[in-house]
């Protein structure tokens, strides 16, 4: 069972604004988690975890200077708020 207090804590970790939905989330998440509890039946002793299918490791590329491209200006245009080429935001500290 996920308490309303826990819901508020998770929402804060997730940086997700919730509006008086503690009750709803508490109910829904508890139901889903109850279902997921099923995994506890499985004996996973000495089993290695899989994070990706297939064998992929150490993929590298040359550390070259990024080229200024048309893409850059398109990305800049997507900023909600900016000053010239700088992203504008509320003060952080």
């Amino acid at each position: 069972m996920i308490s309303k207090e826990e819901v508020r804590h998770i929402a804060k970790l997730a940086r997700l604004g919730i509006n008086q939905e503690e009750e709803k989330f508490s109910k829904e998440l508890s139901l889903i988690l109850d279902y997921i509890e099923k995994l506890k039946e499985v004996d996973v002793k000495n089993v290695k975890p899989t994070s990706y299918s297939g064998k992929i490791e150490n993929i590298t590329r040359k550390d070259t200077e990024a080229q200024k491209s048309e893409k850059t200006s398109k990305l800049l245009e997507l900023f909600p708020d900016r000053k010239k080429r700088f992203l504008k935001t509320k003060q952080i500290f």
Binding site: L16, G17, N19, L39, V42, V44, V47, S53, L75, P80
Partner: protein, 486 residues
Amino acid sequence: MELENLTIEKAHQGLLKKEFSAQELTERYFQKIEEEDKKIHSYLNLYQDLAILQAKETDEMISRGKKINLLAGIPAAVKDNIMVENLKCTAGSKILESYVAPYDATVVKKLKREGIIILGKTNLDEFAMGSSTENSSFGPTRNPSDLERVPGGSSGGSAAAVAANLCLFSLGSDTGGSIRQPASFCGVVGLKPTYGAVSRYGLIAFASSLDQIGPITKTVEDCQTIFNAVLGKDEMDATSVSLPPSGGRDGKSQIKGLKIGVPKEYFIKGMEAEVEKMIKAAIQKYQDLGAKIVEVSLPYTEYALPCYYIIAPSEASANLARYDGIKYGYSTTRREQKTANSLLDIYLQSRGEGFGAEVRRRIMLGTYALSAGYYDAYYLRAQKVRTLITKDFEKTFKKVDAIFSPTSPTPAFKIGEKTSDPLEMYLSDIYTVSVNLAGLPAISIPVGKTSSSQNQGGGLPVGLQIIGKPFEEEKIMEIAKMYDNK
């Protein structure tokens, strides 16, 4: 030009023989979209002017007697979580409502080079999270077979558009069944390639260890054409790989001696009787053609869905952290009446208002599973179960060439039928999620419709899922072709 009978090859021949021009073909599709998509709502955005311009280029090449590619002038639709440069890419979410893609996804780049014409972007469950396309922030898509029913999801718009002949083929993405299940519900072909077979660059990330892009088509031949056009290693996606040359493409597969595994764990309670009957009939057909049917066991099957519902939301909660109201997308800083007093307010408000119910639910679930004190119990344990599920398949594929199963336990359900119970909705993907967890290729092909007496809107399509070994897409597609070729 009858759009109903058109395939990629037939359209190509029509263009070559000058039975119609690419412009006429494109215009015919837009006319049909105009007539029918108000009811179906498979498209979110259409780009007629751009498409006509592209079609004219193909026509000019033809008139100048230049050789054209098989895909030149072929009208297509792209799921709205795959980026097409300068076109909106919403992922079905309010948070990306006005986002314009700054570059082409690699698959789009490759298909554009072949000369395809993009008619528009198709509807999906928000961020591809869902099994019915009802989670789209822009309204649901309806099943062309019965407008009271869902088209499946999350690539519901892409599957419905192909089924209703509102494009010749489409692209979808599949994280837990999102190509195969809607293909099954709409009566079309859908392929989820092996993890890494197709570049994911330019696909809006949901769960990065599971996501794959794949084609939705009318025939298996068309599916082969599109898959072969988009596969391959891409330096922009470190998880993409070159397909090994063998890949089941060593000559034509023979049905004689073909070993088909049928997992006993898949034929269980919850499967609709008529679906079971039709899948068993399809299996029987392969046996009659000379294939050997073997009962196999995948003992960890029942843990696949709970395993998926730890891994996918966990990865999603991390991937979706980027929608912060700061860099792009919906932001409360843009509001005229300023409500955010601090940086934290911008995060909380933008995300709280921008994401829909299912996405919020999964972000919460994923954040919980990854939070301090719970990581080992949930995420790490799920990753270990994932290993066991993968091993189930590895063992089975030592004995058989392919595994057959239903794509979904039921045909398309009614709109609104499962929206109030998330768990009930998740069960729709019970046969498809294991394939993503194990990174395997699988195709869904239509094997007929349920008897129309059961449903007022007429019979509903049922799909057969054919699962293959890693990188044996070609083999499962050859096996799929045998169903119709006899």
